[in-house]
Each structure stands twice: as structure tokens, then as C-alpha cells.
């Protein structure tokens, strides 16, 4: 596939160039328009990606020497797992620009600089085929995100941004150690090549722990989630959108890309633990969300629950589960991103994120409320929306695996419906406060709310094309995993719950016949 | 090697010096009168009663000269080994090295001179 230019590289480099160009601009309004133009241009640059072949290979591969002395390569490529994430990233950018059009009034240039930088790093994370390159982008993306929260955030932005930064960076430092360990043991940094290597179980054990910590913080999974509500609440809309739509995906993407293929046996070994934590995330996130009086916080906690579904799907190790996880990643990106944009829109009017201040919108902002309703429904997986597809797949997978797991998911799903209904009802029909004088959505807001809506329905009603994209890769992933762990699986009976706890504290002996 | 006649001689001569100096002192201590009282223990300041003690800080210039000495003296120290060997060296390189060494030394003098270190101040602070 030759498009006359390296597609992925240009997707990474172009935002940076555009960001540098921002500094030549004086007026904030021009800066906004410029960035919007750049983001659309970025989308156009990404058009060749649509020629994605429906197979499990890495495509659009680019390779160049980076630091040959250490075997570092500049290697990019996408497969079914990362392809959608790249597209999602590209699609989110213009929406972010639009939704912060009036929201951001100070230091506009720098804000858009961060957005563009962010996009570049995110694309890089999903496209990197070299472990270190991945890490570079993974960390590089922290800086603009930090600034987005810390500079343009709410009252407690410093605390929130610091917490965000410390949590994520602390996690990823261990990831670095794991990467290096992979290099020393496996002899390469190249992810496709590492996937071919069989590591000893002991090595896998530690590598999995190191990586899983980094990814779990990023996801975030239950005990490490505390940075998320703070960051979400304090971040500006665009920041929340990117955070929810792209950043959280990196954690689960990491699980899929690294944990499962590189440390299959350890993944299986730790799967009960991960499943338990996932379910805890779902229930905990949902329960906390139910009690929130702050809309943004509510959506933030719902994110925790939704990401729980994703990790659960991943660690069920069956085709449906992983498919569901991938769908859920995509859906969550679209839906939660849209919800945050809506909260941003209403915040511009009420200057409050409290539910109590944003009630009675059904009468005064019917269009807004209509969109909200759609997204709220999608959020808890109403059939016909995309949320349903993902959640359903995970459900199916869970029940396939074990009825207990499936049973535990039901209250999670119910909770989701409960908190979404609660907030939606209040917002639509509660006693209006100051909502009387508010305008309904303007054309810009229409634009950026309509685009996700299209996707919500498109995926919800015709998921086939997406299945086509992800299926080969997922099948290969799950197949490889099964093939490599089958020996272990038989030797090692399903660990008892007590063993799950024990596994976390003590190093296991080598499995018998490994 | 560890203990040569030189060491012995040095110690012996030092002891001799000690005796030579200590002997008369002790003798004096034994035979001399021991008067006490009055202003006998007063420091001598031409008959004036001393104002304050003498152990105060004084002219900083003296320190400057002490520092100068340290710097130069040690440079000169390096020349002693050279002195024993210089005559028996071959070629002009040793001379070049001497020139370099002494030039640096001279530069130090010039530097201090230019910086006014050698100018005794009118009022010592």
C-alpha cells in the first residue's frame, strides 16, 4: 500500500508542525479556526487508513532505524486492535476544538497547542510497533494532558493535575523497567517479534505485574481509579473528552497489545484477579456514580464502571469477550466523550456542574436534552445504540465463561441504567433553576454533538463492518493465547479464589510441565 | 630504610636543642627571684594601663601576605627536585619546562601586583 507518503508518520508529525505554526498566530479566534482546519486536514491525511485490509497483519507499516546501538526502531503500524483507536483519536480532535470554541477564553494558542501535541502522541501510542517508541509516546502524552488540566481546569486543578500526573507516571516507570527486561530477555524491542518469543513463567510473572500496574492505573481499575474523578471534574471539556475517549483506552489497549500476547501464561494466571478487580470496578463505579450530585463526576465514575467491562472482556480470554472489550473501548470513547462535551456545553450556560443547577432542561433546551437522552441510553447499553453491542458481547462472554461472573455483571448493568436515568430525569424534568433564559444548542454545538450521535447509531445498528475490522486480529490474539497456554491451562486447574489472593503476594513456582 | 642515621641525628639534635634551651630556663627558674604582686603581671604598654586585651583581630593585610607566601613557597618547593636533576637532563625540553613554570610564577607576581596586593594600605582595616 503506497499512498505516496508515510501515512502514520504524517499523522504524528502533522499535528506537531501545525502546533508549531500556532505560535505565528496572534488572534485567539484565528487560532481556533486554524486548529480546526488543521484537525480536519489531519483527518484528510488519515483517509488512506480507510483502505485497511481485513486481516490480522500489521498494516501501513513503516520502519526506520532510530537508535541502532540499542536496537531501537522507529516502527509504526496498525492492526485491527489499534486501527479503530487511531481513527477514534483522529475523530475526537475536531470535536474537541469545536467544543472548546467558547469554553476556553484564556491562553487559546497554548490550549490548542496542547491539543495538537496530544493528538500526535496518542496516534503514536496506538501506532507504535516498537516498545520504546510506544513508551515515548505514552509518556509524552502526559505533558499536554497535565497542562490541559492544570492550566485550564477548575478550582482544584492543581491538585487534580498533580494527582493525575503522579499516578500515571508512577505506574509507567515500572513499565519502563518491564520494557527493558523484555529487551534483555527477548532480545528486541520490536513488538511483533517479541510476540513470537516464549518467556519463562517466572519472567512473565514479574513482567505482567509491572505492566499491569501501569495499565491498570491508566484504565483505571478499581483501587487505582481515584485520580480519574478528580481529573475529569477539573479538566476543561476538551480535556475530559480526550481523557475519556483516548487516554483511558491506552490502558486497555496496553493489556491487549502487551499483556496478553507477551505474557500469556501470566495473564491466565492473573486472570481471576483481574476479573475480580474488573467486577469490583463495575460495581464500585456504578454505586458511587449513583450517589453523585455533580454531573461530571457521575460520568467520570461511570467511566470507571465502563472500563471495568472492558478489562473484564479482555481477561475472559474468549473471542466474544475481547471483541466486546474492543467495542466497549470504542463506544465508551464516543459516548463518554459526547457526554463530557454536553456537560461542557451546559456548563457554559449554568456555570455549574451540579445536577441541581442544571434541571428542567427538557423544556428550555429540547435539542440538548434529546442528544443527552440518546447518549445516556447508549451509555447504559440500550439496544440499538452502540453501547448495547459492546456490553452485550461482554455479557455473552461472561456467561460463556462462568455464570457467577455473568451474574455479578447484572447488577453492574442495572446500576448503569439507574444512575443514568436518575441524572437524565432530573435534568430533563426537574424544577428549572436559571435555565429559563438559556439558548438552545447553536449550530456549532449541533455539529459536534451530531457527529458522535451518527456513530452511536451506526455502530449500534450495523456493527458488521467493525466486526470485520477487529475480528481477524482478535481471533489471532485469542488463538495465540489459547495455543500458548493450553499446556498450562490443563496443568493448572482454575485457581480457587484464595489462590487469587495468594498469587498476588507470593511468587509461584514454575508450573509443573512448563 | 625505616629508620636511618639521619632520623637518629635529627632527633638527637632536636633533643640537644631542647636541652640547650631548656637548661638555662630551668636554671633560671631555680635561681631567679620570684617576686609577686603590684602591677608586675600587667602587660607592658610604656607605663599606660592596657586598654582591653591584645587578642583581637587586626590588620587583614598580614593574612594576605601569609597567603601569598603559601602560594609562592609551594611553587618554589617544586623546584628543589628539579634542581638536583636539571644539570643532568638532556635537550632543551627541560629548559622549556622551566620557562613555563617560572612564567606561571611570574604571572602570579604580575597578577598580585596589578591587583594592588603589594600596596600597603594607608588605613589598615
Amino acid at each position: 500500500m503506497d499512498f505516496g507518503y508515510p501515512v502514520l508518520t504524517s499523522l504524528i508529525v502533522f499535528p506537531l508542525v501545525a502546533a508549531a505554526g500556532l505560535f505565528l498566530i496572534k488572534s485567539p479566534q484565528v487560532a481556533r479556526a486554524y486548529t480546526l482546519g488543521a484537525s480536519i486536514l489531519e483527518l484528510i491525511l488519515g483517509l488512506p487508513l480507510l483502505s485497511f485490509q481485513f486481516n490480522a497483519d500489521f498494516q501501513f507499516v513503516e520502519k526506520a532505524h532510530w537508535v541502532p546501538q540499542w536496537g531501537l526502531e522507529y516502527a509504526l503500524g496498525v492492526d485491527g486492535i489499534s486501527y479503530l483507536m487511531v481513527l477514534l483519536t483522529l475523530a475526537i480532535l475536531p470535536l474537541c476544538v469545536m467544543c472548546s470554541w467558547t469554553y476556553i477564553s484564556k491562553r487559546v494558542k497554548e490550549f490548542h497547542f496542547c491539543l495538537l501535541f496530544m493528538t500526535s502522541a496518542c496516534v503514536g501510542v496506538f501506532a507504535a510497533l516498537d516498545f520504546v517508541l510506544f513508551y515515548v509516546f505514552w509518556e509524552a502524552m502526559l505533558i499536554p494532558m497535565y497542562l490541559l488540566i492544570a492550566v485550564w481546569g477548575g478550582d482544584q486543578r492543581r491538585y487534580a493535575s498533580l494527582k493525575f500526573f503522579l499516578f500515571t507516571l508512577a505506574g509507567s516507570t515500572l513499565l519502563l523497567a518491564a520494557i527493558v527486561a523484555f529487551r534483555i530477555t527477548g532480545g528486541t524491542f520490536s513488538i511483533p517479534e517479541l510476540m513470537q518469543v516464549n518467556f519463562s513463567f517466572r519472567f512473565q510473572y514479574w513482567a505482567f505485574l509491572a505492566m499491569a500496574l501501569a495499565f491498570a492505573i491508566k484504565v483505571p481499575m478499581f483501587p487505582f481509579h481515584t485520580w480519574l474523578p478528580a481529573a475529569h471534574v477539573q479538566a476543561p471539556s476538551a480535556g475530559s473528552v480526550i481523557l475519556a475517549a483516548v487516554l483511558l483506552k491506552m490502558g486497555t489497549y496496553g493489556f491487549l497489545r502487551f499483556c496478553l500476547p507477551l505474557t500469556p501464561e501470566a495473564s491466565v494466571y492473573f486472570a481471576p484477579l483481574m476479573i475480580a478487580v474488573s467486577i469490583a470496578s463495575i460495581l464500585y463505579g456504578g454505586a458511587i456514580a449513583l450517589g453523585q450530585s455533580d454531573v461530571k463526576k457521575l460520568v467520570a465514575y461511570s467511566s470507571v464502571a465502563h472500563m471495568g467491562f472492558v478489562t473484564l472482556g479482555i481477561f475472559l480470554f474468549n473471542l466474544r469477550g475481547v471483541e466486546g472489550a474492543l467495542f466497549q473501548m470504542l463506544n465508551h470513547g464516543i459516548i463518554t466523550g459526547a457526554l463530557f462535551m454536553m456537560i461542557g456545553a451546559v456548563y457554559e450556560r449554568s456555570h455549574s456542574r451540579a445536577i441541581a443547577d442544571n434541571m428542567g432542561l427538557g423544556k428550555y433546551l429540547p435539542a440538548f436534552m434529546g442528544f443527552w437522552g440518546l447518549y445516556a441510553l447508549a451509555s447504559f447499553g440500550f439496544p440499538g445504540t452502540n453501547g448495547f453491542v459492546g456490553e452485550m458481547l461482554v455479557f455473552v462472554a461472561a456467561f460463556q465463561e462462568s455464570y457467577y461472573i455473568g451474574a455479578l455483571l447484572v447488577p453492574g448493568a442495572l446500576l448503569g441504567a439507574a444512575y443514568m436515568f436518575r441524572v437524565s430525569l432530573k435534568m430533563a424534568w426537574g424544577r428549572p433553576g436559571t435555565a429559563k433564559g438559556w439558548r438552545d444548542l447553536n449550530s456549532r454545538e449541533w455539529t459536534y454533538l451530531l457527529i458522535p450521535a451518527v456513530f452511536v447509531l451506526y455502530i449500534g445498528l450495523a456493527p458488521k463492518v467493525f466486526f470485520n475490522i477487529i475480528d481477524p486480529s482478535v481471533e489471532k490474539l485469542v488463538g495465540d493465547l489459547k495455543a500458548r497456554t493450553s499446556a498450562t491451562q490443563t496443568a493448572q486447574a482454575q485457581p480457587a479464589p484464595a489462590a487469587v489472593v495468594a498469587a498476588a503476594v507470593e511468587t509461584p513456582a514454575e508450573p509443573v510441565n512448563n | 630504610m625505616v629508620f636511618s642515621w639521619l632520623h637518629f641525628a635529627i632527633i638527637l639534635f632536636l633533643l640537644g636543642g631542647l636541652l640547650f634551651a631548656g637548661g638555662p630556663l630551668i636554671l633560671s627558674y631555680l635561681v631567679a627571684p620570684r617576686a609577686r604582686g603590684g602591677d608586675m603581671g600587667m602587660p607592658y604598654e610604656c607605663g599606660m594601663r592596657p586598654y582591653g586585651g591584645a587578642w583581637t583581630s587586626f590588620g587583614i593585610n598580614y593574612y594576605v601576605y601569609a597567603m601569598l607566601f603559601l602560594a609562592f613557597d609551594v611553587d618554589v618547593l617544586y623546584l628543589f627536585p628539579v634542581a638536583t636533576a636539571y644539570r643532568f637532563t638532556e635537550g632543551w625540553l627541560p629548559f622549556l619546562e622551566m620557562v613555563i613554570f617560572l612564567t606561571v610564577l611570574a604571572l602570579a607576581i604580575i597578577y598580585f601586583w596589578a591587583k594592588g596586593v603589594f600596596t600597603w594600605p594607608r588605613k589598615i582595616s
Binding site: - | 583581630s57 593574612y63 597567603m67 613557597d73 609551594v74 611553587d75 618547593l77
Partner: protein
Amino acid sequence: MSPLVLYQLVALILLLAGLFGITQRKTLVGMLICVELMLNGAGLSIVAAAQLTPANAVLGQLGTLFVMGLAAAEATLVLAIIVVIARRFGSTKTSVVSTLKG
């Protein structure tokens, strides 16, 4: 006990005495003296080490010469800085000269 050990013991005593003094002295000049003590201990040890082992004796003498020289240069600098301190603080007691903390 070999002669080398004797020398090294003496040197060690000098070194430790100096080190002890550094921690105990209350004035900067006193500390300087202690430092010189330490340096001299090192010099003694070097010259003894070179002289009493198969090592090149000239090397040791040279080394000690340099130690002496640089010790003196160092003393010069310390004195110079003490002079500066005396001017700026009006005292050279270590208790006075300790404004930097954090």
C-alpha cells in the same frame, strides 16, 4: 608488624584526628588546620607506600610533593575565603557562619 603498617597507622591516626577535628572544631581556622592534618596523613601514607613496596619510589615522592603543594594552595584559598568571611560575617566561628539551611 611491617614498617609499612607502622607508617600507615601513623597516617591513619593523622587522618582520623583531622576528621575528628573537622567535626569538632568551632572555628574555621581550626577546621583548616584539621584538613591540613588529614592531607599530611595522606602524604605520609603515599610516600611510605611507594617507598616500602615494589612500587616506584619516585612516584610516591612526587605524589607527596604534589600533595604538599596542593595542600598549601588549598590552605591559601581557605585563608582567602576566611578573610572574606571575616569581613562579611565579622566572625569566623562555625556557629555564626551557618546561614544556609533548607
